[in-house]
Each structure stands twice: as structure tokens, then as C-alpha cells.
């Protein structure tokens, strides 16, 4: 019954010592890793065609022509795969009042003073930034990517439009790679995060430290669930 915007279907507390909290369902994790793999392959194949010093990366894809063929198809895969993530996560990434406070105290975030930060839901403002940046950039990349996908879409745009598209595509790619670096670094830096996407759960302490509002919502939900159970259940 919970109307909490950010509590996912599979989010669940397992009491014990230590407490564990389910954060991502197997479906969400598979979806995430398909997206992640596509993004890495796209970055490698895209960079190969972006800077001559990186052209050797085409060897990973079976040479230059195959890189040219495969890159846009991986892009299509990424688009649909990310769309799956978008449907799963968009609600929990809506901007909330505490996100502004969190951002204003970015210095405490970076120095690891989590105790000085407001309690946040399933995602903090940094994670929401990554989510929305990825969403917007992927739309920009797929749109400009189709414009420069000459094999199938050459006749639909002018050369002038293609020139803009290739420039915007490169800039968007650079930005998304940088956002990806932030995403991966944050997952490494904040210990106990990666298991959320591998095993699907985090420790209670992790949830308490970084997403206390979410944890409280889950606790409230599970106690409500118990007391408010109908006989039919």
C-alpha cells in the first residue's frame, strides 16, 4: 500500500545481525549489466573512431569496417536496455526537497561526512544527476546517431544536418563517458555499494548511512504490512 515514491517492488528488509536490505531485483540487475556492457562497448568503439590515437581499439571489434557496422547496433541495444532501467527507476529519481540541501552540502558529501547530510530516499542528488544525465544524453546520442547512420538513414537528412549531428554526438559521448566515470567512481568510493548490483542487497548500515529515509520507509512499510494484514492473506 505504500505510496512512497522511491520504494521499489523488491525492496525489502531482512532483520538480523547484520541487517540486509534488498535493493535490486534480479531483473533490474540483469537490465543494468546489459546496459553497462553496451555502454562500455559503445565507448570503446566510439572512441576508436573519434581519435586516431585510439583507432587500434577497432581491433577489439574485428577491424574498422566491423566497428563501423556494430557501433550503431550496440547503440540501439543500449537505448532499449536503458529504457528498461528508466521505467524501473524514474519515479525514485524525482527531485525532492532534501536533494537541494544535500547538494548545498556537497563539501560534506565529498569529505564523507554523511552525518551532516539530510536523510535521503533511495537515491541521493548525485545519483539522480547521473540518472537524468544518462537519460538525456542517451536520447541525444540515439537521435544524432541515427542522423549519421549513413548505411540506413543517409537520405533523410542533409549534409549540413549530419555535420551538426556528428559534432553533437561526439560532445554528448564525451559527457556521457565522464558521467559514467563519476558513476563508477562513486560506486567504488562508497563501500558496500557494488553488492547492490551484484547480489542485489546492501547492508543495513549502508542504508542507514546513505539512504536513511528509504530505510525508514521500508521499516515503516514492513511493520505496517505485518499489522495491517488482512485475514485472507
Amino acid at each position: 500500500m505504500s505510496t512512497d515514491y522511491d520504494v521499489g517492488k523488491g525492496d525489502k528488509i531482512h532483520a538480523g545481525k547484520p541487517v540486509t536490505v534488498d535493493r535490486y531485483t534480479p531483473g533490474a540487475r540483469v537490465n543494468h549489466w546489459i546496459t553497462a556492457t553496451s555502454l562500455v562497448l559503445l565507448a570503446l568503439s566510439g572512441l576508436a573512431l573519434f581519435h586516431p590515437a585510439l583507432f587500434f581499439l577497432t581491433e577489439l571489434f574485428g577491424g574498422g569496417p566491423l566497428t563501423r557496422v556494430i557501433h550503431p547496433w550496440i547503440g540501439v541495444l543500449l537505448f532499449f536496455s536503458f529504457f528498461g532501467l528508466f521505467l524501473r527507476f524514474w519515479k525514485a529519481n524525482l527531485w525532492k526537497r532534501e536533494d537541494g540541501t544535500w547538494l548545498a552540502r556537497i563539501r560534506d558529501v565529498l569529505t564523507g561526512h554523511d552525518e551532516r547530510l539530510p536523510e535521503v530516499g533511495k537515491y541521493n542528488a548525485g545519483q539522480k544527476f547521473v540518472f537524468w544525465a544518462m537519460s538525456v544524453l542517451i536520447i541525444v546520442l540515439i537521435t544524432t546517431g541515427i542522423v549519421i547512420w549513413d548505411q540506413y538513414f543517409f537520405e533523410f537528412t542533409t549534409i549540413g544536418q549530419k555535420r551538426w549531428a556528428v559534432l553533437v554526438h561526439s560532445i554528448a559521448a564525451i559527457v556521457i563517458i565522464s558521467v559514467w566515470i563519476i558513476h563508477v567512481y562513486a560506486a567504488i568510493w562508497v563501500r558496500g555499494t557494488i553488492r547492490a548490483m551484484t547480489r542485489g542487497s546492501v547492508s543495513g548500515g549502508w542504508a542507514w548511512r546513505h539512504h536513511r529515509k528509504w530505510l525508514r520507509e521500508l521499516v515503516a512499510k514492513s511493520s505496517k504490512g505485518k499489522s495491517g494484514r488482512t485475514p485472507a492473506e
Binding site: 541487517v19 583507432f55 566497428t67 549519421i148 561526439s170 567504488i188 543495513g204 548500515g205 548511512r209 521499516v219
Partner: protein, 314 residues
């Protein structure tokens, strides 16, 4: 009359230019040869062209291409555009001269201009797929081409075409294979009126001078040479009777240059882009060194246990 390139001897000779003469190579750096070969050029005198398309036929013949049989849509252009199998094309324009009220039939032989500063080569991401020889020829090397179409975006003249058969880019080679053995381009050889002549760039400029003087004496006050400086000059030049408005010749660009968008893409974006990515990674690394990992403490775990325990108590 310009003396045509004589037939070469039938004895085998070493090629007149090759890889040692490269002054530019796509996506690579080359050491330019100490001595540059004499620059060559093809001069197309539009005022002498009769539109016979012998140049197109000679081009098809020499390059052994097989353009599709087209359809007539009421214009003389055939095929209707350059294709991967048609490296040169007569473009016919009917132009009403507002000064004389005369209808002028302008016929321009379109094709690669062999720019001194080639936009295709600048845009190309595949090492060695586009090369420029010191004599001025810009050539596509098909075994290195990956078919991405960046050359199309780089070209200020809309010349390269990607083949649907082998997915590589095609355009006029200035008959680099014929030139290498001392012959002239096939189109120049076939032209019955010497509207197309071939020689060194200097000879061509001089020859054009004479033609322009002649045209001016016949009332074409704006006759001139089309050797656009925006691309560093070209190794295919036109004599135009109305050089002040090249666009009337089937949209020949007035002041062609590599698009600033392409310059930005292949210039600042390329370097700044990698720098931004590098800085992002370095910042992460530095941050980790300075502040260390953000670990969950024992107290956090206990607080969570307390919270879940408390709330669960009925």
C-alpha cells in the same frame, strides 16, 4: 590549343609517385618528402564544354565502373547525381542572363576538386584511407576505408559517395594510376573540344589566363578562374564565364571552405574531449587518495539493527 599529354612509352617504367610522396595521410602523421613534386591540375573550361559526356564515358571506361541505367526525368543530367560508379557528372543549368536577356546553357563537369586542404581527409578516422600526394592528388585507399561516411561530412563540394556493394567511399582519383605512368586523366584525353586540359598547376593557370582574356574580349566581363582560396586552392580548376557568381553553375560554392562545424569536431572537440575524460578519471583518483573510501561504520550497522528491531516490536 594546349599541347595534350603525349602518349607514354610502351616500356615499363617505375611509377612517377608513390607512398614516399605523401604530404597528408588521414588519421596519421607523415613526414612530408623533402622535395615536393610539381603540382598538377586539371583545368575545366566551362565555356568550351559542349555537353557531350565523353568525359563521363571515358571515366566509366577507365575506372571500369558500371553505373545503373537510369531514367529520363526531363533533364540532361545522366545519371542524376554522382554515384559510387560515376565519379564525374555533367551538370546542366539553364540560366537567364539578366543583362543580355539571353538564355545561357551552363554545363559544369562536377567531380572531386582535389583541394589543397582536403576536408574529406581531415574528417577521415581511418589511418591511410585518404591520402594526398605532393603533386596535389587526393586519393581514397579502399583497403583502409571503413565506410563511415565522415568524408562526406568533411567535403565542401559534396563529392564522395559510399558504395552499397563494398561499403567504401568512391570519388574521382584524378586518374592517379594513369598519372603514375605518365599519362593524363581519361576525361581530359577524351574531351573533343579541349574543355578539359591537364598539366602542371602553373601551366594551367597560364592557359586559363589566355582563355579568360579571350572570354573578356567576347563580352564576358566577369570571366575568371575558379581556384578557391578557402580550401587552399584546388587541383581541378574551372574557367567560368561568370566567375563572380559560381553558384549559377549548378550550385558551385562561392567561397568553399571546410565547414567550421567539421573544424570544431576534428579540432578542439577531439583534444578537449579526451582531456575532459582524462581529468574526470584523474579527479576521481585524486579524491580517493585524499579522502579514502567512504566506509559503513559499526555504529551504522548497529543503528540499522536498532531501527529495524524497534519498529518490528509489536
Amino acid at each position: 590549343m594546349f599541347q595534350p599529354v603525349p602518349n607514354p612509352s610502351t616500356r615499363p617504367e617505375p611509377p612517377k609517385f608513390g607512398d614516399q610522396d605523401l604530404i597528408r595521410r588521414s588519421a596519421s602523421t607523415v613526414t612530408p618528402p623533402a622535395q615536393r613534386q610539381t603540382e598538377v591540375a586539371k583545368l575545366i573550361d566551362v565555356s568550351k564544354c559542349i555537353g557531350c559526356k565523353a568525359c563521363q564515358s571515358a571515366c566509366i571506361e577507365w575506372n571500369d565502373t558500371h553505373p545503373e541505367i537510369g531514367i529520363n526525368t526531363g533533364v540532361y543530367d545522366n545519371p542524376h547525381d554522382l554515384t559510387p560508379d560515376m565519379f564525374t557528372l555533367m551538370r546542366f543549368s539553364e540560366w537567364e542572363n539578366p543583362e543580355t536577356n539571353n538564355l545561357e546553357w551552363l554545363i559544369r563537369k562536377d567531380g572531386c576538386m582535389h583541394c589543397e586542404d582536403p576536408g574529406c581527409l581531415k574528417a577521415c578516422p581511418a589511418p591511410g584511407a585518404i591520402v594526398q600526394y605532393s603533386n596535389g592528388i587526393v586519393d581514397f585507399v579502399h583497403e583502409n576505408c571503413i565506410g563511415c561516411g565522415y568524408c562526406i561530412k568533411g567535403c565542401p563540394f559534396n563529392i564522395p559517395r559510399i558504395s552499397k556493394v563494398d561499403h567504401t567511399a568512391y570519388k574521382c582519383t584524378l586518374c592517379s594510376d594513369r598519372l603514375a605512368v605518365g599519362q593524363g586523366p581519361a576525361c581530359a584525353k577524351a574531351c573533343p573540344t579541349q574543355a578539359i586540359v591537364f598539366g602542371t598547376k602553373e601551366e594551367m593557370k597560364q592557359h586559363a589566363e589566355g582563355r579568360i582574356t579571350d572570354l573578356k574580349s567576347r563580352g564576358f566581363a566577369n570571366a575568371g578562374l575558379y581556384d578557391p582560396p578557402g580550401v587552399g586552392g584546388t587541383h581541378v580548376m574551372y574557367v567560368l564565364h561568370h566567375a563572380d557568381k559560381p553558384e549559377i553553375y549548378a550550385d558551385l560554392p562561392n567561397n568553399p571552405r571546410i565547414s567550421p562545424i567539421v573544424e570544431a569536431w576534428k579540432g578542439v572537440t577531439k583534444y578537449a574531449g579526451l582531456a575532459v575524460i582524462g581529468i574526470a578519471a584523474a579527479t576521481g583518483f585524486m579524491h580517493y587518495l585524499v579522502s579514502g573510501p567512504n566506509r559503513v561504520s559499526e555504529a551504522d550497522e548497529e543503528a540499522a539493527e536498532k531501527l529495524t528491531g524497534e519498529e518490528r516490536r509489536p
